[in-house]
């Protein structure tokens, strides 16, 4: 809310974790703000299926923002773990090209933490790519169960904590709010 009077940009690693809502949604808010500021941004979605057509995918297409669904859906529903692991690796290779490209102001790695939690991607490999990125680049990583090593290396970490959740009462996810 303060303005960037200093002019200097320090690239931050931001982690949105916790069991509550708003992790991906807040990353989408960053996307909107950045687009409004004319910054170059991309969002790689590690869990969303390649055929995703949620509100954010539609919006990104209309705005010309690079948003790439990389995943095979909810992996815990998948019948083929090896396929999911290969997809995860493929997604991470794309992420590395973005993380090393100084043309990007902000790179969002949505739901990356699940790949770490499942052991499909070594956390050291992610930390190395973050350390080696161009200095002004912001990176936003979302997902539950962010590993402690990532939290230790991050600049800004927020836990979205569920206080009250309507889907416990049988209410379905709502268009515009969650997809």
């Amino acid at each position: 809310m303060t303005s960037e009077r200093s002019g200097e940009r320090r690239g931050l690693v931001i982690v949105n974790t916790g069991n509550g809502k708003g992790k991906t949604t807040a990353a989408l808010g960053v996307l909107l703000r950045s687009w409004g500021q004319g910054l170059k941004i991309c969002m790689l979605q590690f869990i969303k299926t390649k055929t995703s057509n949620y509100g954010e995918n539609r919006a990104a297409r209309k705005l010309g923002i690079e948003m790439v669904p990389l995943g095979a859906g909810f992996t815990w529903l998948s019948k083929d773990i090896e396929h999911d692991k290969a997809l995860a690796r493929e997604g991470w290779e794309l992420a590395k090209t973005r993380l090393s490209d100084a043309a990007y102001d902000i790179v969002i790695l949505d739901e990356l933490t699940y790949l770490l939690a499942y052991g499909w991607l070594p956390v050291e490999e992610v930390l190395a790519a973050l350390r080696d990125r161009p200095p002004g680049m912001h990176v936003v990583i979302t997902g539950r169960n962010a590993p402690q090593e990532l939290v230790d290396d991050a600049d800004l970490v927020t836990e979205m904590r569920e206080v009250k959740h309507p889907y416990r009462q049988g209410i379905r996810a709502q268009r515009g709010l969650e997809f």
Copy 2:
């Protein structure tokens, strides 16, 4: 992430509170998703100054989304409390017209909780407007210190909890991330 197969829309009251980042930013994510879904949405910003030109204000103008900064800036910096109170009341009157207008799918009341916390607006008046709104309308309310009565009446409440914050280390707010 599940789809809205039931077809029925149940309007939810959503509260993003807590001392961490992401309360307003997640509301902006809802705004982006809703726009992508072709829904009618507005965002009233109770604290942002009327001359605000943050990334979200620029984006909203470009997208034709109604985003109205109503406030006098950070009220705790204001020299004229009566002026701020009058602005708050004026903003709330506009909010009531939106909350009673069935044309809106989603109404975002950004940083409304501060008006309640300062005692400028009775919480009962807000709860009454929420109860009387069109049944399918979603309302998103953000800000620290959401009063317990609001939490009790809300459907979905998330606490954004600060785990680690770089501004404690003297790093300024960054363009695209926070404004």
